[in-house]
């Protein structure tokens, strides 16, 4: 019963492949995307954990920032483009090595998170950054970047292409057969590949907790790349449902759910995204609040919860042992890998220690829940052994 919506939904270059694979299309961030295929969320989730899942994430916002008048000196030009972008985010962009990607946060003056995103430094083009922002926030994000760089750099959106995520322990072997050299890439790096005269930007990252890659390719090459990847028996397409359950198990926050413009990086448990240099300089939006919270304690903190019984979903109240409401679930559901319900939500710091016995209110009934460390399922990112 795959239904094509009559609404004004955008489609991705892979729409025909989704419907052919039995994709159940749903509206998501203005796009028609598959929540699942014939396999179903559970099967797609488990397949990604044990082999490789292929996701269409073309709704997201990839783009490039390129310095308009580069000097030609790689370090000078990188410092210049980083200097234009850093006032928006809390990460160390200047310190990126060629080809390196960093997870960072766009912040408002109150220290709230406008978006979480990836910023990478071009491996070869001086003064150029690769950014990937979230679908629901991309218009605002791109406006911010364009305004921040002004006439000194050019923002080129790439969300008219296709972005594929190949995730899972078999992703590297599968991709290496199509893009030789992919296996040599380090975690959180990117580079371009030429294949059939087409340029593909491959990033070794993802949002499932598994090793994997995100592949940016031209729209008219998307189905070719999709077909080559899915021709490999180790790869099965996976939809938005599995993407959400995988990232939940990995303890990764989802913008618009676990993160919003009121949540600070410290509250969200994303303090690692504040680089030492930026902290010492206190030169990012909302630094006053964020650094104060880092020194003392925020009012609330994001925790993982192991839930007994029915899944506690977004919006469910978190109660203390006595039944007093102390917070709200921001993401929750069933964890296929663990065979039980898990959730993330915000509670006061005094209730945030792993082992703390809390409750969640599901359909007006209190169920036991315990604070547990995240990730719920260990990350299995690729780590190069440090040779030098």
């Amino acid at each position: 019963m795959a239904q094509t919506s009559a609404e004004d939904l955008k489609t991705t270059p892979l729409f025909s492949r989704h419907t052919a694979a039995g994709g159940r299309m749903v509206p998501f961030a203005g796009y028609s995307l598959p929540v699942q295929y014939a396999t179903g969320i559970m099967g797609e989730h488990n397949w990604t954990r044990q082999s490789a899942g292929l996701f269409d994430v073309s709704h997201m916002g990839p783009g490039f920032l390129v310095l308009n008048d580069p000097s030609g000196d790689a370090e000078t030009d990188h410092a210049a483009i980083a200097g234009l972008v850093e006032p928006l985010v809390c990460g160390d962009i200047a310190g990126l090595k060629p080809g390196q990607i960093r997870y960072t946060l766009l912040l408002n003056e109150a220290g709230g998170i406008i978006d979480d995103l990836m910023i990478g430094r071009s491996p070869n083009l001086p003064g150029s950054l690769y950014i990937v922002v979230n679908a629901g926030t991309k218009e605002g994000d791109f406006s911010r970047f364009a305004a921040a760089v002004g006439a000194r750099a050019k923002l080129t959106r790439a969300d008219d292409g296709a972005l594929l995520a190949l995730q899972g322990p078999e992703a590297v072997a599968v991709l290496s057969a199509i893009l030789p050299g992919a296996a040599e890439m380090g975690f959180m790096t990117y580079r371009s590949f030429e294949i059939d005269g087409q340029t593909i930007i491959a990033s070794r990252c993802g949002y499932t907790g598994e090793d994997g890659f995100e592949l940016l390719c031209p729209a008219d090459f998307a189905t070719t790349l999709w077909d080559r990847l899915t021709a490999e028996p180790r790869v099965k397409p996976a939809g938005l449902g599995a993407r959400d359950s995988l990232r939940l198990e990995a303890g990764l926050p989802l913008y618009g759910h676990d993160l919003d413009e009121t949540v600070s990086p410290i509250e969200a448990g994303l303090g690692f995204a504040l680089s030492k240099r930026r902290r010492e300089a206190a030169d990012f939006p909302g630094a006053t609040r964020i650094l104060a919270e880092r020194e003392s304690q925020p009012n609330r903190i994001r925790v993982g919860l192991a839930v007994e019984g029915a899944p506690a979903r977004e919006g469910a109240e978190i109660l203390d042992g006595a039944g007093t409401p102390i917070g709200v679930v921001t993401s929750g559901g069933f964890a296929p890998t663990l065979g039980k319900a898990i959730a993330m939500g915000f509670v006061p710091p005094g209730k945030a220690l792993p082992g703390t016995r809390l409750q969640v209110s599901v359909r007006s009934r209190a169920q036991p829940a315990e604070v547990v460390p995240t990730p719920f399922v260990p990350h299995r990112y690729f780590r190069k052994t440090q040779a030098s």
Binding site: M1, V35, Q36, G40, I41, M42, G43, H45, G241, D244, S245, G309, A310, P311, R313, G333, F334, P336, A341, R363
Partner: protein
Amino acid sequence: MTTKFTPDHEYVRVEGSTGIVGITPFAQEQLGDIVFVELPAVGKVLKKGDEAAVVESVKAASEIYAPVSGTVTEVNEALSGEPGLINQDPTAGGWMFKLAISDASELDGLLDEAGYAEMTK
């Protein structure tokens, strides 16, 4: 023995004055893998259309409504340990609860098999 259907995809299989309630194969297919089932208490009095049970898939919770009025006489305890029974065979091993039907005339307002098949075509 007849089976009737609601537009919300519950079935009620009538055996004498007892109605056996579950969700249709179409509904389980739409919901996907069921991971948790909440059943009514035995003895609970339900009016037609009352929320009687909840089935949870990975993605969402869905309410199951009483297709007719009655008193819950038995629930399928096997579902608490094995909610996937609803996916495997929703009309047999995946039944959810039994009702002592209080007003058999309500059955007339439900869809018959042909009508339900037409609706889900």
